[in-house]
């Protein structure tokens, strides 16, 4: 056991550059980019779904189906669909994975705003957009944030598979370790990914706490 940790340490110490750039790729390409894109798409879509019943069914079922495709299969599918090899198919697959939690939470968060509050807002003379901006989104914020946190954690974990399509990231060590039967290399990839996931969840939780008005804290 100790020996294994020694190997891990030596491996990282020998070439810290390689290790750090893998982490950087992982965070930037495999988490920040797909999650941001997913937010840009899923939040508006979730809002629309909460407004139009016909859209609600379509959008939610498509994203649930996407979610049920195994990660590796989805990655492979990207290549088959002509995305080639590299970050692009990985980002696309992770983006698709992130859609559901964010979209579903946006939809639910807005749907769950007390109907009396919505009516009070409208009855007071808010337009549809004003009601969304001043009342519904702020109240749904923590639920939407929970969706973003889930998506982030999914991306960090599933991102380790992206190395199979040549997208880099911490998965590179895992893939190499499996190929070369070097178990310590698995740890070089897996442990930082796990720590990253916990850290990201914690930091996003903190961020949410600071962004949310005091009047909404402590409510789920």
């Amino acid at each position: 056991m100790l020996e294994t940790f020694n190997k891990v340490y030596t491996f990282i110490a020998n070439d810290p550059e390689q290790f750090l750039s893998a982490i950087q790729d992982h965070i930037l390409l495999l988490v920040l980019v797909p999650v941001s894109l997913a937010i840009l798409v899923a939040v508006p879509l979730g809002i629309l779904a909460s407004r139009f019943r016909w859209l609600e069914k379509i959008v939610l079922s498509i994203t649930s189906i996407l979610q049920t495709i195994p990660s590796l299969a989805l990655l492979a599918l990207m290549i088959v669909l002509g995305m080639g090899i590299g970050p692009r198919p990985a980002i696309t697959a992770l983006f698709l994975y992130s859609l559901l939690p964010i979209l579903r939470n946006t939809f639910i968060g807005i749907k769950n705003v007390d109907p009396f509050l919505k009516e009070a807002a409208t009855g007071m003379g808010m337009t549809n957009m004003q009601r969304l901006r001043m009342v519904e989104l702020p109240i749904a914020f923590s639920v939407i944030m929970a969706g973003i946190r889930t998506a982030t954690v999914i991306c960090i974990g599933t991102g380790t598979l992206a190395a199979y399509v040549g997208a880099g990231g911490l998965g590179v060590f895992i893939v190499r370790g499996l190929q070369l039967f070097r178990n310590y290399l698995l740890l070089v990839g897996a442990v930082p990914a796990a720590i990253l996931a916990l850290l990201a969840d914690y930091l996003l939780g903190k961020l949410e706490y600071f962004l949310i008005p005091r009047g909404l804290r402590g409510e789920q």
């Binding site: 007390d114 009396f116 509050l117 009516e119 009070a120 807002a121 409208t122 009855g123 007071m124 003379g125 808010m126 337009t127 004003q130 001043m134 009342v135 702020p138 109240i139 008005p213 005091r214 009047g215 909404l216 409510e219």
Partner: protein, 387 residues
């Protein structure tokens, strides 16, 4: 200020508001009241177009509201709901100023208005302004709900059971505060309630609804005195009804077992019966209970030596009232003929009862002014304790 003209609302086949006609005047506080599901909320929400009528026209300020932009219309109408509906993501100040914000008020103007309003209900602006709704009690929250509706100074305010969810003591307080505010501000208020006491307390006019129709629209006093029908009366509740002497029938207040004597009895027996019952006159009746006359203690004493029956000495048919006549008529007859009592007979001349001055005073206070008689009881019992 607000006028309903043949307004109906249908959901599918169900007509929940039926051809409603109602005019609400400027500065008037009108309560809509009636059993659950009678269409109060629907009627209210049609005024700010949260619900659109199926047919008919509603005028606000003389203008057909269908021709107005609903958003603009609503900004000019205050709205308070039972569930309070303060926005949990906004501070008290932000909540109060929310319509102002929609109208583009400056920060200074909004802040000044918030302060002014909080002071109006004796809530210290400095300590409440920056709190969030959940940091206030239910009663305080609904005060803010009312202030929020007042903030942009609308002429009309709609309130849907605003105090319904509050405990009785807080509810009474807020009713009192609303009355005070209304006395200063003279808003046109449409106030939905379930609670007749609340309606009686705050309303200038009460509109009583049933099954989507107006059953009666009148001042609290008129409704109490002249409920339009049994439904209104039962909705008001018996113990609240103020009844005038025009409505109370003599049989409701008469003594039902007057002391009588058959016409063929002897005078000594009459005297004995008077002594036993402590009365100074007896109703003289025949075998069938028909009233023949009246005999007083004087009549009996002066005739005692002569002997004979009660019938011989009785005065002929005295002045009487018929069952079904009102107390007012009875009082009038008593005064006119200067008599101390009146027999009550039915149209077959059968004696049904007796009204005396003493019984009238006692019973009238009970029937006409129940409050008075109960406070009188309190008074006597406390004086008893004191002595």
């Amino acid at each position: 200020m607000v006028r309903f003209e043949n307004v109906s609302k249908k959901y599918n086949q169900l007509e929940v508001v039926k051809n409603l006609n109602l005019e609400i005047n400027e500065g008037e506080l009108v309560t809509l009241i009636g059993p659950s599901g009678c269409g109060k909320t629907t009627t209210l929400k049609m005024i700010n177009r949260l619900i659109e009528p199926t047919s008919g026209t509603i005028y606000v300020n003389g203008e057909d509201i269908r021709k107005q932009d609903p958003v603009q219309l609503r900004r000019g109408i205050g709205y308070v709901i039972q569930q309070i509906g303060l926005f949990p993501n906004m501070t008290i100040a932000q909540n109060i100023a929310v319509v102002g914000k929609l109208l583009g008020w400056s920060k200074e103007k909004a802040a000044a208005r918030v302060e002014e309003l909080l002071e109006m209900v004796n809530m210290d602006p400095a300590s409440y302004m920056d709190r969030y709704p959940k940091e206030l009690s239910g009663g305080q929250q609904q005060r803010i709900g009312v202030l929020r509706a007042l903030a942009a100074n609308p002429k009309i305010i709609l309130m849907d059971e605003p105090f319904g969810a509050l405990d009785p003591i807080t509810r009474e307080q807020l009713q009192g505060e609303l009355k005070k505010l209304q006395a200063q501000l003279h808003k046109t208020i449409v106030f939905v309630t379930h609670d007749m006491d609340e309606a009686l307390k705050i309303a200038d006019r009460i509109v009583l609804m049933r099954d989507g129709e107006i059953v009666q629209a009148a001042t609290p006093d008129q409704i109490l005195r002249n409920p339009a029908n049994d439904f209104v009366a039962s909705f008001i509740g018996k113990d609240r009804l103020l009844r005038s002497p025009d409505e109370v029938k003599v049989e409701e207040v008469m003594i039902t077992d007057p002391v009588t004597i058959e016409y063929n009895r002897g005078l000594a027996e009459a005297l004995e019966r008077m002594r036993k019952s402590r009365v100074d006159s007896l109703m003289v009746v025949d075998d069938l209970g028909s009233l023949l006359g009246v005999v007083t203690i004087k009549d009996v004493q002066s005739a005692l030596n002569r002997g004979g029956t009660v019938g011989d000495s009785a005065a002929p048919h005295p002045i009487a009232v018929y069952t079904g006549q009102t107390v007012r008529e009875a009082v009038f007859i008593m005064a006119k003929h200067n008599v101390g009592y009146l027999p009550v007979i039915n149209d077959q001349n059968q004696l049904k009862g007796l009204i005396t001055r003493a019984s009238l005073v006692g019973i009238l206070t009970d029937v006409l002014w129940p409050d008075l008689s109960s406070s009188h009881n309190v008074f006597t019992s406390t004086t008893k304790e004191a002595s």
